[in-house]
Protein backbone atom coordinates (compact mmCIF):
# COMPACT_ATOMS: atom_id res chain seq x y z
CA UNK A 1 0.00 0.00 0.00
CA UNK A 2 2.61 2.65 0.88
CA UNK A 3 4.19 4.39 -2.05
CA UNK A 4 7.46 2.82 -3.02
CA UNK A 5 9.28 6.08 -3.61
CA UNK A 6 12.60 6.11 -1.76
CA UNK A 7 13.08 8.67 1.00
CA UNK A 8 16.03 10.96 0.44
CA UNK A 9 17.56 13.58 2.69
CA UNK A 10 17.21 17.26 1.82
CA UNK A 11 19.01 20.19 3.45
CA UNK A 12 18.42 20.92 7.14
CA UNK A 13 18.33 17.21 7.92
CA UNK A 14 14.70 16.76 6.85
CA UNK A 15 13.56 14.01 4.51
CA UNK A 16 10.95 14.08 1.76
CA UNK A 17 9.89 11.51 -0.83
CA UNK A 18 12.24 11.30 -3.81
CA UNK A 19 9.39 11.99 -6.28
CA UNK A 20 8.79 15.39 -4.64
CA UNK A 21 12.43 16.39 -4.79
CA UNK A 22 12.18 18.63 -7.85
CA UNK A 23 9.23 20.66 -6.59
CA UNK A 24 9.06 23.25 -3.82
CA UNK A 25 8.08 21.47 -0.61
CA UNK A 26 4.46 22.23 0.21
CA UNK A 27 5.31 22.98 3.83
CA UNK A 28 8.54 24.25 5.33
CA UNK A 29 8.39 24.99 9.02
CA UNK A 30 11.44 26.31 10.76
CA UNK A 31 12.04 26.92 14.47
CA UNK A 32 8.34 27.24 15.23
CA UNK A 33 7.63 28.01 18.89
CA UNK A 34 4.64 29.08 20.89
CA UNK A 35 4.53 29.92 24.58
CA UNK A 36 1.38 30.11 26.64
CA UNK A 37 2.41 32.08 29.70
CA UNK A 38 5.35 30.13 31.07
CA UNK A 39 4.53 26.95 29.17
CA UNK A 40 6.47 26.16 26.01
CA UNK A 41 3.71 24.26 24.22
CA UNK A 42 5.78 23.90 21.05
CA UNK A 43 9.51 24.59 21.00
CA UNK A 44 11.77 24.87 17.97
CA UNK A 45 9.61 22.72 15.69
CA UNK A 46 11.06 22.29 12.19
CA UNK A 47 9.71 20.05 9.47
CA UNK A 48 9.55 19.79 5.68
CA UNK A 49 6.66 18.08 3.93
CA UNK A 50 6.90 17.07 0.28
CA UNK A 51 4.28 17.95 -2.29
CA UNK A 52 2.58 14.58 -2.31
CA UNK A 53 3.88 13.20 0.95
CA UNK A 54 1.83 11.52 3.63
CA UNK A 55 3.48 12.73 6.82
CA UNK A 56 2.79 11.59 10.36
CA UNK A 57 2.99 13.53 13.58
CA UNK A 58 2.97 11.31 16.64
CA UNK A 59 3.75 11.55 20.30
CA UNK A 60 2.26 10.94 23.74
CA UNK A 61 -0.84 12.80 24.91
CA UNK A 62 -0.19 16.47 25.58
CA UNK A 63 2.96 16.50 23.48
CA UNK A 64 1.71 19.48 21.45
CA UNK A 65 0.61 17.77 18.23
CA UNK A 66 -2.74 19.54 17.91
CA UNK A 67 -1.03 22.79 18.90
CA UNK A 68 1.19 22.38 15.83
CA UNK A 69 -1.95 22.06 13.67
CA UNK A 70 -3.42 25.13 15.36
CA UNK A 71 -0.22 27.03 14.60
CA UNK A 72 -0.23 25.93 10.96
CA UNK A 73 -3.84 27.09 10.56
CA UNK A 74 -3.26 30.28 12.60
CA UNK A 75 -5.70 29.49 15.35
CA UNK A 76 -2.68 30.52 17.43
CA UNK A 77 -0.04 32.93 16.22
CA UNK A 78 3.47 31.55 16.78
CA UNK A 79 5.78 33.25 19.27
CA UNK A 80 8.73 32.55 17.00
CA UNK A 81 9.54 30.76 13.76
CA UNK A 82 8.37 30.74 10.16
CA UNK A 83 5.85 28.70 8.20
CA UNK A 84 6.34 28.60 4.43
CA UNK A 85 3.41 27.24 2.45
CA UNK A 86 4.46 26.36 -1.08
CA UNK A 87 7.45 28.66 -0.60
CA UNK A 88 5.37 31.63 0.58
CA UNK A 89 5.62 33.04 4.07
CA UNK A 90 2.32 32.83 5.96
CA UNK A 91 3.25 35.37 8.64
CA UNK A 92 0.38 37.73 9.42
CA UNK A 93 -2.28 35.55 7.82
CA UNK A 94 -5.44 34.56 9.69
CA UNK A 95 -7.38 31.29 9.65
CA UNK A 96 -9.58 32.35 6.75
CA UNK A 97 -6.60 33.40 4.62
CA UNK A 98 -4.80 30.15 5.44
CA UNK A 99 -7.78 28.21 4.18
CA UNK A 100 -7.71 30.20 0.96
CA UNK A 101 -3.95 29.71 0.70
CA UNK A 102 -4.49 25.95 0.65
CA UNK A 103 -4.39 24.36 4.12
CA UNK A 104 -7.49 22.43 5.18
CA UNK A 105 -7.98 20.48 8.38
CA UNK A 106 -10.18 18.18 10.38
CA UNK A 107 -10.61 18.35 14.13
CA UNK A 108 -9.82 15.92 16.93
CA UNK A 109 -13.24 16.50 18.49
CA UNK A 110 -15.45 16.51 15.41
CA UNK A 111 -16.66 19.96 14.39
CA UNK A 112 -19.40 19.56 11.84
CA UNK A 113 -22.27 21.93 11.13
CA UNK A 114 -24.52 19.63 13.11
CA UNK A 115 -27.94 20.99 12.29
CA UNK A 116 -27.31 21.18 8.52
CA UNK A 117 -27.50 18.41 5.97
CA UNK A 118 -24.50 16.40 4.82
CA UNK A 119 -24.72 18.04 1.39
CA UNK A 120 -24.84 21.53 2.94
CA UNK A 121 -21.76 20.74 5.03
CA UNK A 122 -19.83 19.96 1.86
CA UNK A 123 -21.27 23.00 0.06
CA UNK A 124 -20.06 25.17 2.94
CA UNK A 125 -16.64 23.67 2.30
CA UNK A 126 -17.04 24.85 -1.31
CA UNK A 127 -17.72 28.40 -0.06
CA UNK A 128 -14.65 29.90 -1.72
CA UNK A 129 -14.74 27.58 -4.75
CA UNK A 130 -18.25 28.25 -6.04
CA UNK A 131 -19.04 31.90 -5.51
CA UNK A 132 -21.92 34.30 -6.09
CA UNK A 133 -23.03 37.40 -4.24
CA UNK A 134 -25.56 37.61 -1.43
CA UNK A 135 -27.71 39.79 -3.68
CA UNK A 136 -27.89 37.30 -6.54
CA UNK A 137 -28.76 34.65 -3.95
CA UNK A 138 -31.69 36.69 -2.62
CA UNK A 139 -32.90 37.74 -6.08
CA UNK A 140 -32.33 34.27 -7.52
CA UNK A 141 -30.35 35.63 -10.47
CA UNK A 142 -29.04 33.24 -13.16
CA UNK A 143 -25.62 33.08 -11.46
CA UNK A 144 -27.39 31.61 -8.42
CA UNK A 145 -28.91 28.73 -10.35
CA UNK A 146 -25.73 28.08 -12.30
CA UNK A 147 -23.50 28.09 -9.20
CA UNK A 148 -25.91 26.08 -7.05
CA UNK A 149 -26.06 23.36 -9.69
CA UNK A 150 -22.29 23.30 -9.84
CA UNK A 151 -21.98 23.25 -6.05
CA UNK A 152 -24.45 20.38 -5.86
CA UNK A 153 -22.62 18.35 -8.50
CA UNK A 154 -19.23 18.94 -6.91
CA UNK A 155 -20.54 18.12 -3.44
CA UNK A 156 -21.95 14.82 -4.72
CA UNK A 157 -18.71 14.00 -6.47
CA UNK A 158 -16.70 14.66 -3.31
CA UNK A 159 -19.11 12.60 -1.21
CA UNK A 160 -18.71 9.73 -3.65
CA UNK A 161 -15.05 9.35 -2.58
CA UNK A 162 -16.36 7.78 0.62
CA UNK A 163 -19.54 6.39 -0.96
CA UNK A 164 -21.63 8.82 1.05
CA UNK A 165 -23.91 10.20 -1.69
CA UNK A 166 -26.94 8.42 -0.27
CA UNK A 167 -26.45 10.27 3.02
CA UNK A 168 -26.55 13.71 1.36
CA UNK A 169 -29.87 14.73 2.87
CA UNK A 170 -29.31 13.45 6.39
CA UNK A 171 -28.58 15.86 9.19
CA UNK A 172 -24.82 15.83 9.78
CA UNK A 173 -25.28 15.49 13.54
CA UNK A 174 -27.36 12.34 13.10
CA UNK A 175 -24.64 10.40 11.25
CA UNK A 176 -22.78 7.56 12.96
CA UNK A 177 -19.40 8.50 14.38
CA UNK A 178 -17.27 7.04 11.60
CA UNK A 179 -19.34 8.77 8.92
CA UNK A 180 -19.00 12.09 10.75
CA UNK A 181 -15.21 11.73 10.63
CA UNK A 182 -15.37 10.94 6.92
CA UNK A 183 -17.67 13.90 6.28
CA UNK A 184 -15.16 16.19 7.97
CA UNK A 185 -12.50 14.97 5.54
CA UNK A 186 -14.84 15.54 2.58
CA UNK A 187 -15.64 19.06 3.80
CA UNK A 188 -11.92 19.80 4.14
CA UNK A 189 -11.26 18.47 0.63
CA UNK A 190 -14.00 20.73 -0.73
CA UNK A 191 -11.80 23.77 0.00
CA UNK A 192 -9.36 22.39 -2.62
CA UNK A 193 -6.35 22.28 -0.31
CA UNK A 194 -2.77 21.54 -1.26
CA UNK A 195 -2.09 20.37 2.30
CA UNK A 196 -4.64 18.41 4.30
CA UNK A 197 -4.22 18.14 8.06
CA UNK A 198 -6.01 15.21 9.70
CA UNK A 199 -6.25 15.27 13.50
CA UNK A 200 -6.72 11.70 14.71
CA UNK A 201 -8.78 10.53 11.72
CA UNK A 202 -9.04 6.96 13.03
CA UNK A 203 -10.09 7.84 16.59
CA UNK A 204 -13.04 5.71 17.63
CA UNK A 205 -12.93 3.54 14.52
CA UNK A 206 -12.85 -0.26 14.59
CA UNK A 207 -10.01 -2.17 12.87
CA UNK A 208 -11.90 -2.72 9.62
CA UNK A 209 -12.97 0.94 9.45
CA UNK A 210 -9.36 1.95 10.07
CA UNK A 211 -8.23 -0.36 7.29
CA UNK A 212 -10.69 1.31 4.93
CA UNK A 213 -9.57 4.76 6.08
CA UNK A 214 -5.93 3.94 5.32
CA UNK A 215 -6.84 2.95 1.79
CA UNK A 216 -8.92 6.11 1.43
CA UNK A 217 -6.16 8.43 2.65
CA UNK A 218 -3.84 7.03 0.00
CA UNK A 219 -6.65 7.26 -2.56
CA UNK A 220 -7.18 10.94 -1.71
CA UNK A 221 -3.47 11.69 -2.03
CA UNK A 222 -3.27 9.95 -5.41
CA UNK A 223 -6.51 11.50 -6.70
CA UNK A 224 -5.83 15.10 -5.70
CA UNK A 225 -2.01 14.94 -5.70
CA UNK A 226 -1.84 16.75 -2.35
CA UNK A 227 0.21 16.42 0.79
CA UNK A 228 -1.43 14.97 3.88
CA UNK A 229 -0.16 15.41 7.42
CA UNK A 230 -1.83 13.39 10.12
CA UNK A 231 -1.84 13.06 13.88
CA UNK A 232 -2.71 9.55 14.97
CA UNK A 233 -2.28 7.19 17.89
CA UNK A 234 -3.06 4.06 15.87
CA UNK A 235 0.46 2.89 15.07
CA UNK A 236 -0.71 0.42 12.45
CA UNK A 237 -2.14 3.32 10.46
CA UNK A 238 0.85 5.61 11.00
CA UNK A 239 3.47 2.99 10.21
CA UNK A 240 1.36 1.63 7.36
CA UNK A 241 0.83 4.77 5.28
CA UNK A 242 3.12 7.57 6.50
CA UNK A 243 6.29 8.16 4.53
CA UNK A 244 7.96 10.57 6.92
CA UNK A 245 7.20 10.72 10.62
CA UNK A 246 8.04 13.29 13.27
CA UNK A 247 7.78 12.39 16.95
CA UNK A 248 6.88 15.12 19.41
CA UNK A 249 7.34 15.00 23.17
CA UNK A 250 6.90 17.92 25.56
CA UNK A 251 6.62 20.27 22.58
CA UNK A 252 9.96 19.24 21.06
CA UNK A 253 10.76 16.97 18.15
CA UNK A 254 12.62 13.99 19.53
CA UNK A 255 12.90 12.02 16.29
CA UNK A 256 12.31 12.36 12.56
CA UNK A 257 12.54 9.72 9.89
CA UNK A 258 10.93 6.88 7.99
CA UNK A 259 8.62 4.45 9.83
CA UNK A 260 11.46 1.95 10.12
CA UNK A 261 13.84 4.50 11.62
CA UNK A 262 11.21 5.73 14.06
CA UNK A 263 10.39 2.24 15.29
CA UNK A 264 14.04 1.60 16.05
CA UNK A 265 14.73 4.98 17.66
CA UNK A 266 15.59 4.61 21.37
CA UNK A 267 14.32 8.13 22.21
CA UNK A 268 10.91 7.26 20.76
CA UNK A 269 10.73 3.99 22.63
CA UNK A 270 11.60 5.82 25.82
CA UNK A 271 8.93 8.49 25.26
CA UNK A 272 6.25 5.88 24.70
CA UNK A 273 7.29 3.09 27.07
CA UNK A 274 9.40 4.90 29.66
CA UNK A 275 13.05 4.51 30.54
CA UNK A 276 14.53 1.07 30.90
CA UNK A 277 15.31 0.35 34.55
CA UNK A 278 19.01 -0.06 35.19
CA UNK A 279 19.69 -3.47 36.57
Amino acid sequence: MPSTSKMVPVPSRAIIPERDLNATPILEVSHLSVHFGGLNAVEDFSIIVGRTEIAGLIGPNGAGKTTVFNLLTKVYQPTRGAILLDGNDTAGMNTVQISQAGIARTFQNIRLFQSLSVADNVKIGLHNQVKYSTMSGILRLPSFWRSERRAHDEAMELLSIFNMQHMANYKAGSLPYGAQRRLEIVRALATRPSLLLLDEPAAGMNPSETEELMANIIKIRDMFQIAIMLIEHDMRLVMGICEGIAVLNYGKIIAKGTPEEIQADPAVIEAYLGQKKEA
Binding site: T95, S99, F107, L112, Q114, G137, I138, E148
Partner: protein
Protein backbone atom coordinates in the same frame (compact mmCIF):
# COMPACT_ATOMS: atom_id res chain seq x y z
CA UNK B 1 -30.40 8.06 -5.38
CA UNK B 2 -30.87 10.91 -7.80
CA UNK B 3 -34.59 10.41 -7.31
CA UNK B 4 -34.33 10.88 -3.56
CA UNK B 5 -32.26 14.06 -3.94
CA UNK B 6 -34.78 15.66 -6.21
CA UNK B 7 -37.47 14.72 -3.76
CA UNK B 8 -35.94 16.75 -0.92
CA UNK B 9 -35.35 19.59 -3.33
CA UNK B 10 -39.04 19.78 -4.09
CA UNK B 11 -39.83 19.27 -0.41
CA UNK B 12 -37.92 22.42 0.46
CA UNK B 13 -39.61 24.48 -2.24
CA UNK B 14 -42.92 23.01 -1.17
CA UNK B 15 -42.34 24.02 2.43
CA UNK B 16 -41.59 27.58 1.27
CA UNK B 17 -44.66 27.54 -0.97
CA UNK B 18 -46.82 26.55 2.01
CA UNK B 19 -45.48 29.53 3.98
CA UNK B 20 -46.27 31.96 1.13
CA UNK B 21 -49.63 30.23 0.67
CA UNK B 22 -50.62 30.68 4.31
CA UNK B 23 -50.02 34.44 4.04
CA UNK B 24 -51.97 34.80 0.78
CA UNK B 25 -54.78 32.63 2.13
CA UNK B 26 -54.98 34.68 5.32
CA UNK B 27 -55.18 37.82 3.20
CA UNK B 28 -58.04 36.44 1.10
CA UNK B 29 -59.84 35.16 4.18
CA UNK B 30 -59.69 38.56 5.86
CA UNK B 31 -60.91 40.23 2.66
CA UNK B 32 -63.89 37.87 2.46
CA UNK B 33 -64.78 38.26 6.15
CA UNK B 34 -64.41 42.02 5.85
CA UNK B 35 -66.43 42.08 2.63
CA UNK B 36 -69.34 40.29 4.27
CA UNK B 37 -69.17 42.77 7.17
CA UNK B 38 -68.19 40.23 9.80
CA UNK B 39 -64.89 41.83 10.82
CA UNK B 40 -65.07 43.60 14.18
CA UNK B 41 -63.68 47.10 14.15
CA UNK B 42 -61.12 46.32 16.86
CA UNK B 43 -59.76 43.46 14.77
CA UNK B 44 -59.74 45.62 11.65
CA UNK B 45 -57.64 48.16 13.51
CA UNK B 46 -55.17 45.42 14.34
CA UNK B 47 -54.59 44.17 10.80
CA UNK B 48 -51.66 46.47 10.00
CA UNK B 49 -49.98 46.08 13.43
CA UNK B 50 -50.22 42.31 13.01
CA UNK B 51 -48.44 42.59 9.64
CA UNK B 52 -45.76 44.80 11.20
CA UNK B 53 -45.24 42.36 14.07
CA UNK B 54 -45.03 39.42 11.67
CA UNK B 55 -42.26 41.21 9.74
CA UNK B 56 -40.56 42.01 13.06
CA UNK B 57 -40.77 38.36 14.14
CA UNK B 58 -39.34 37.08 10.84
CA UNK B 59 -36.58 39.67 10.98
CA UNK B 60 -35.65 38.85 14.59
CA UNK B 61 -35.75 35.16 13.74
CA UNK B 62 -33.04 35.87 11.19
CA UNK B 63 -30.82 37.20 14.00
CA UNK B 64 -31.80 34.76 16.74
CA UNK B 65 -32.60 31.60 14.81
CA UNK B 66 -30.48 31.70 11.67
CA UNK B 67 -27.50 33.72 12.92
CA UNK B 68 -27.83 32.40 16.49
CA UNK B 69 -27.18 35.69 18.27
CA UNK B 70 -29.51 37.11 20.90
CA UNK B 71 -30.66 40.67 20.25
CA UNK B 72 -32.73 42.45 22.90
CA UNK B 73 -32.94 45.80 21.12
CA UNK B 74 -34.85 44.97 17.99
CA UNK B 75 -37.51 47.56 18.82
CA UNK B 76 -34.75 50.15 18.43
CA UNK B 77 -34.49 49.38 14.72
CA UNK B 78 -38.27 49.40 14.47
CA UNK B 79 -38.29 52.84 16.08
CA UNK B 80 -35.65 54.18 13.68
CA UNK B 81 -37.67 52.92 10.73
CA UNK B 82 -40.89 54.29 12.19
CA UNK B 83 -39.69 57.85 12.73
CA UNK B 84 -37.61 58.12 9.56
CA UNK B 85 -40.62 56.73 7.68
CA UNK B 86 -42.87 59.37 9.24
CA UNK B 87 -40.42 62.17 8.45
CA UNK B 88 -40.19 61.03 4.82
CA UNK B 89 -43.95 60.65 4.51
CA UNK B 90 -44.70 64.12 5.91
CA UNK B 91 -41.89 65.79 3.96
CA UNK B 92 -43.04 64.31 0.68
CA UNK B 93 -46.72 65.07 1.31
CA UNK B 94 -46.81 67.61 -1.50
CA UNK B 95 -44.23 66.23 -3.90
CA UNK B 96 -45.66 62.70 -4.02
CA UNK B 97 -49.43 62.77 -4.23
CA UNK B 98 -50.02 59.05 -4.59
CA UNK B 99 -50.38 57.43 -1.14
CA UNK B 100 -49.03 53.97 -2.06
CA UNK B 101 -45.94 55.47 -3.73
CA UNK B 102 -45.27 57.70 -0.71
CA UNK B 103 -45.69 54.67 1.57
CA UNK B 104 -43.26 52.67 -0.56
CA UNK B 105 -40.64 55.44 -0.42
CA UNK B 106 -41.15 55.75 3.36
CA UNK B 107 -40.75 52.01 3.89
CA UNK B 108 -37.60 51.85 1.77
CA UNK B 109 -35.99 54.83 3.50
CA UNK B 110 -37.05 53.49 6.91
CA UNK B 111 -35.35 50.21 6.02
CA UNK B 112 -32.20 51.93 4.75
CA UNK B 113 -31.84 54.10 7.88
CA UNK B 114 -32.36 51.11 10.19
CA UNK B 115 -29.93 49.10 8.05
CA UNK B 116 -27.29 51.84 8.36
CA UNK B 117 -27.70 51.79 12.14
CA UNK B 118 -27.42 48.01 11.89
CA UNK B 119 -23.90 48.55 10.51
CA UNK B 120 -23.05 51.10 13.22
CA UNK B 121 -24.24 48.80 16.01
CA UNK B 122 -23.18 45.55 14.37
CA UNK B 123 -19.54 46.32 13.62
CA UNK B 124 -18.52 46.69 17.27
CA UNK B 125 -21.26 44.59 18.88
CA UNK B 126 -20.91 41.46 16.75
CA UNK B 127 -17.39 41.00 18.06
CA UNK B 128 -19.08 40.14 21.32
CA UNK B 129 -20.82 36.87 21.92
CA UNK B 130 -23.86 35.61 23.77
CA UNK B 131 -24.87 37.61 26.83
CA UNK B 132 -22.59 40.52 25.99
CA UNK B 133 -24.22 41.09 22.61
CA UNK B 134 -27.62 40.89 24.29
CA UNK B 135 -26.62 43.63 26.73
CA UNK B 136 -25.22 45.89 24.01
CA UNK B 137 -28.34 45.57 21.86
CA UNK B 138 -30.52 46.16 24.92
CA UNK B 139 -28.60 49.37 25.61
CA UNK B 140 -28.90 50.37 21.95
CA UNK B 141 -32.69 50.04 22.08
CA UNK B 142 -32.88 52.23 25.18
CA UNK B 143 -30.53 54.86 23.72
CA UNK B 144 -32.60 55.11 20.53
CA UNK B 145 -35.78 55.49 22.57
CA UNK B 146 -34.34 58.25 24.75
CA UNK B 147 -32.74 60.14 21.87
CA UNK B 148 -35.95 60.20 19.84
CA UNK B 149 -37.78 61.27 23.01
CA UNK B 150 -35.82 64.53 23.00
CA UNK B 151 -35.82 64.99 19.23
CA UNK B 152 -37.66 67.86 17.52
CA UNK B 153 -37.92 67.66 13.77
CA UNK B 154 -39.74 70.04 11.47
CA UNK B 155 -39.85 71.01 7.85
CA UNK B 156 -40.02 74.60 6.65
CA UNK B 157 -38.75 76.88 3.94
CA UNK B 158 -35.17 76.00 4.85
CA UNK B 159 -35.82 72.28 4.47
CA UNK B 160 -35.61 69.69 7.20
CA UNK B 161 -34.57 71.04 10.63
CA UNK B 162 -33.56 68.96 13.62
CA UNK B 163 -33.14 70.13 17.23
CA UNK B 164 -32.37 68.31 20.44
CA UNK B 165 -33.58 71.12 22.74
CA UNK B 166 -37.01 72.48 21.89
CA UNK B 167 -39.43 73.27 19.15
CA UNK B 168 -38.65 77.01 19.04
CA UNK B 169 -35.04 76.41 18.05
CA UNK B 170 -36.21 74.72 14.85
CA UNK B 171 -36.78 78.19 13.29
CA UNK B 172 -39.24 76.87 10.78
CA UNK B 173 -40.70 80.25 9.85
CA UNK B 174 -44.05 80.77 8.17
CA UNK B 175 -45.93 77.69 7.00
CA UNK B 176 -43.50 75.19 8.51
CA UNK B 177 -44.70 71.84 9.81
CA UNK B 178 -43.44 70.22 13.00
CA UNK B 179 -43.07 66.50 12.45
CA UNK B 180 -41.66 65.19 15.73
CA UNK B 181 -42.27 67.02 19.02
CA UNK B 182 -39.95 65.33 21.48
CA UNK B 183 -41.84 63.28 24.09
CA UNK B 184 -45.18 64.01 22.40
CA UNK B 185 -43.86 62.12 19.42
CA UNK B 186 -44.94 62.47 15.83
CA UNK B 187 -48.39 63.94 15.35
CA UNK B 188 -50.63 64.61 12.37
CA UNK B 189 -49.41 61.66 10.35
CA UNK B 190 -51.38 60.89 7.21
CA UNK B 191 -52.38 57.25 7.56
CA UNK B 192 -51.05 55.62 4.43
CA UNK B 193 -50.46 52.04 5.62
CA UNK B 194 -52.99 49.52 4.44
CA UNK B 195 -53.53 45.83 5.11
CA UNK B 196 -52.66 45.07 1.49
CA UNK B 197 -49.36 46.94 1.84
CA UNK B 198 -48.70 44.99 5.05
CA UNK B 199 -49.27 41.66 3.31
CA UNK B 200 -47.00 42.68 0.45
CA UNK B 201 -44.29 43.64 2.95
CA UNK B 202 -44.65 40.23 4.62
CA UNK B 203 -44.29 38.49 1.26
CA UNK B 204 -41.23 40.57 0.37
CA UNK B 205 -39.72 39.80 3.78
CA UNK B 206 -40.36 36.10 3.29
CA UNK B 207 -38.84 36.27 -0.17
CA UNK B 208 -35.68 37.92 1.15
CA UNK B 209 -35.23 35.74 4.24
CA UNK B 210 -36.14 32.37 2.72
CA UNK B 211 -34.00 32.97 -0.37
CA UNK B 212 -31.12 34.17 1.80
CA UNK B 213 -31.30 31.07 4.00
CA UNK B 214 -31.19 28.73 1.00
CA UNK B 215 -28.19 30.34 -0.65
CA UNK B 216 -24.41 30.40 -0.30
CA UNK B 217 -24.52 33.32 2.16
CA UNK B 218 -27.29 31.69 4.18
CA UNK B 219 -25.29 28.50 4.50
CA UNK B 220 -22.27 30.55 5.59
CA UNK B 221 -24.39 32.31 8.25
CA UNK B 222 -25.69 29.01 9.59
CA UNK B 223 -22.18 27.54 9.48
CA UNK B 224 -21.00 30.38 11.74
CA UNK B 225 -23.92 29.65 14.07
CA UNK B 226 -23.28 25.90 14.22
CA UNK B 227 -19.51 26.01 14.62
CA UNK B 228 -17.53 29.21 14.37
CA UNK B 229 -14.10 27.54 14.43
CA UNK B 230 -15.01 25.06 11.70
CA UNK B 231 -16.53 27.87 9.60
CA UNK B 232 -13.27 29.82 9.78
CA UNK B 233 -11.29 26.69 8.93
CA UNK B 234 -13.12 26.36 5.60
CA UNK B 235 -12.46 30.01 4.80
CA UNK B 236 -15.68 31.74 5.86
CA UNK B 237 -15.23 35.26 7.20
CA UNK B 238 -17.23 35.15 10.44
CA UNK B 239 -17.57 38.92 10.87
CA UNK B 240 -18.73 39.48 7.31
CA UNK B 241 -21.58 36.99 7.43
CA UNK B 242 -22.66 37.90 10.95
CA UNK B 243 -22.87 41.51 9.77
CA UNK B 244 -24.76 40.57 6.58
CA UNK B 245 -27.47 38.80 8.58
CA UNK B 246 -27.63 41.55 11.20
CA UNK B 247 -27.97 44.37 8.66
CA UNK B 248 -30.71 42.59 6.70
CA UNK B 249 -32.50 41.88 9.97
CA UNK B 250 -32.23 45.53 11.05
CA UNK B 251 -33.43 46.84 7.67
CA UNK B 252 -36.50 44.60 7.73
CA UNK B 253 -37.29 45.76 11.26
CA UNK B 254 -37.01 49.35 9.98
CA UNK B 255 -39.53 48.65 7.22
CA UNK B 256 -41.86 47.05 9.78
CA UNK B 257 -41.53 50.16 11.95
CA UNK B 258 -42.44 52.49 9.09
CA UNK B 259 -45.47 50.36 8.22
CA UNK B 260 -46.52 50.39 11.87
CA UNK B 261 -46.10 54.14 12.39
CA UNK B 262 -47.89 55.17 9.18
CA UNK B 263 -50.96 53.28 10.41
CA UNK B 264 -51.56 55.81 13.20
CA UNK B 265 -52.04 59.55 13.33
CA UNK B 266 -49.64 59.85 16.26
CA UNK B 267 -46.72 57.74 17.36
CA UNK B 268 -44.41 58.06 20.38
CA UNK B 269 -40.90 56.72 20.95
CA UNK B 270 -41.99 55.02 24.16
CA UNK B 271 -43.99 52.56 22.06
CA UNK B 272 -40.73 50.97 20.88
CA UNK B 273 -39.24 50.13 24.26
CA UNK B 274 -37.73 47.07 25.87
CA UNK B 275 -41.18 45.49 26.25
CA UNK B 276 -41.68 45.55 22.48
CA UNK B 277 -38.30 43.92 21.94
CA UNK B 278 -39.23 41.18 24.39
CA UNK B 279 -42.68 40.79 22.87
CA UNK B 280 -41.13 40.13 19.46
CA UNK B 281 -38.63 37.75 21.05
CA UNK B 282 -41.57 35.88 22.58
CA UNK B 283 -43.08 35.51 19.07
CA UNK B 284 -39.80 34.02 17.86
CA UNK B 285 -39.31 31.66 20.79
CA UNK B 286 -42.91 30.52 20.80
CA UNK B 287 -43.01 30.00 17.05
CA UNK B 288 -39.80 28.02 17.23
CA UNK B 289 -36.29 29.43 16.96
CA UNK B 290 -35.27 29.29 13.29
CA UNK B 291 -38.82 28.42 12.23
CA UNK B 292 -40.08 31.20 9.97
CA UNK B 293 -43.60 29.88 9.57
CA UNK B 294 -43.88 29.47 13.34
CA UNK B 295 -42.92 33.13 13.80
CA UNK B 296 -45.75 34.22 11.51
CA UNK B 297 -48.35 32.16 13.35
CA UNK B 298 -47.08 33.12 16.82
CA UNK B 299 -47.02 36.83 15.96
CA UNK B 300 -50.59 36.69 14.66
CA UNK B 301 -52.04 34.68 17.53
CA UNK B 302 -50.28 36.61 20.26
CA UNK B 303 -51.28 39.99 18.81
CA UNK B 304 -54.92 38.99 18.48
CA UNK B 305 -55.05 37.16 21.81
CA UNK B 306 -55.15 40.21 24.14
CA UNK B 307 -58.14 41.50 22.17
CA UNK B 308 -59.86 38.12 22.38
CA UNK B 309 -59.32 38.16 26.13
CA UNK B 310 -61.22 41.42 26.62
CA UNK B 311 -63.94 39.36 28.30
CA UNK B 312 -61.58 38.81 31.23
CA UNK B 313 -61.35 42.58 31.81
CA UNK B 314 -58.80 43.26 34.54
CA UNK B 315 -57.44 39.74 34.38
CA UNK B 316 -56.60 40.05 30.70
CA UNK B 317 -52.81 40.20 31.02
CA UNK B 318 -52.90 37.47 33.67
CA UNK B 319 -54.78 35.18 31.29
CA UNK B 320 -52.34 36.11 28.51
CA UNK B 321 -49.37 35.18 30.67
CA UNK B 322 -50.97 31.90 31.76
CA UNK B 323 -51.70 30.95 28.15
CA UNK B 324 -48.08 31.75 27.24
CA UNK B 325 -46.79 29.54 30.03
CA UNK B 326 -49.11 26.68 29.08
CA UNK B 327 -48.05 26.86 25.42
CA UNK B 328 -44.37 26.97 26.34
CA UNK B 329 -44.75 23.95 28.63
CA UNK B 330 -46.77 21.85 26.22
CA UNK B 331 -44.66 22.68 23.17
CA UNK B 332 -41.61 21.46 25.08
CA UNK B 333 -43.30 18.37 26.45
CA UNK B 334 -41.49 15.23 25.29
CA UNK B 335 -44.49 12.97 25.69
CA UNK B 336 -46.61 15.32 23.63
CA UNK B 337 -43.89 15.59 20.99
CA UNK B 338 -43.66 11.80 20.75
CA UNK B 339 -47.41 11.60 20.35
CA UNK B 340 -47.33 14.11 17.48
CA UNK B 341 -44.34 12.36 15.93
CA UNK B 342 -46.12 9.02 16.06
CA UNK B 343 -49.21 10.52 14.47
CA UNK B 344 -47.24 12.13 11.64
CA UNK B 345 -45.15 9.01 11.06
CA UNK B 346 -48.32 6.96 10.58
CA UNK B 347 -49.55 9.56 8.14
CA UNK B 348 -46.22 9.59 6.33
CA UNK B 349 -46.05 5.82 6.13
CA UNK B 350 -49.44 5.75 4.45
CA UNK B 351 -48.28 8.38 1.99
CA UNK B 352 -45.01 6.55 1.27
CA UNK B 353 -46.71 3.24 0.64
CA UNK B 354 -49.16 4.98 -1.64
CA UNK B 355 -46.27 6.58 -3.54
CA UNK B 356 -44.50 3.24 -3.81
CA UNK B 357 -47.67 1.76 -5.16
CA UNK B 358 -47.80 4.46 -7.79
CA UNK B 359 -44.17 3.90 -8.76
CA UNK B 360 -44.65 0.18 -9.19
CA UNK B 361 -47.67 0.72 -11.39
CA UNK B 362 -45.66 3.13 -13.51
CA UNK B 363 -42.79 0.65 -13.87
Amino acid sequence: MQMKLKLTGTKRTRSNAITYGIVVLAFLLVQIVDGTGNLTSSLRGQLVPICAYIVMAISLNLTVGILGELSLGHAGFMSLGAFSGVIVSVSLQESIVSDPVRLLVSLVIGAVIAGLFGIVVGVPALRLRGDYLAIVTLAFGEIIKNVINTLHVGIGRNGLRISMTDQASLNLGEGGTVIIQGPIGAVGINKTSTFTAGIILILVTLFIVLNLVHSRSGRAIMAVRDNRIAAESVGISVTRYKLTAFIISAALAGAAGALYALNYSTVVARKFDFNTSILVLVFVVLGGIGNIRGSIIAATVLTVLPEMLRAFNDYRMLAYAIILIIVMLTSNNDQLKQLIQRATSIFRRNKDSRRKGEESTHA
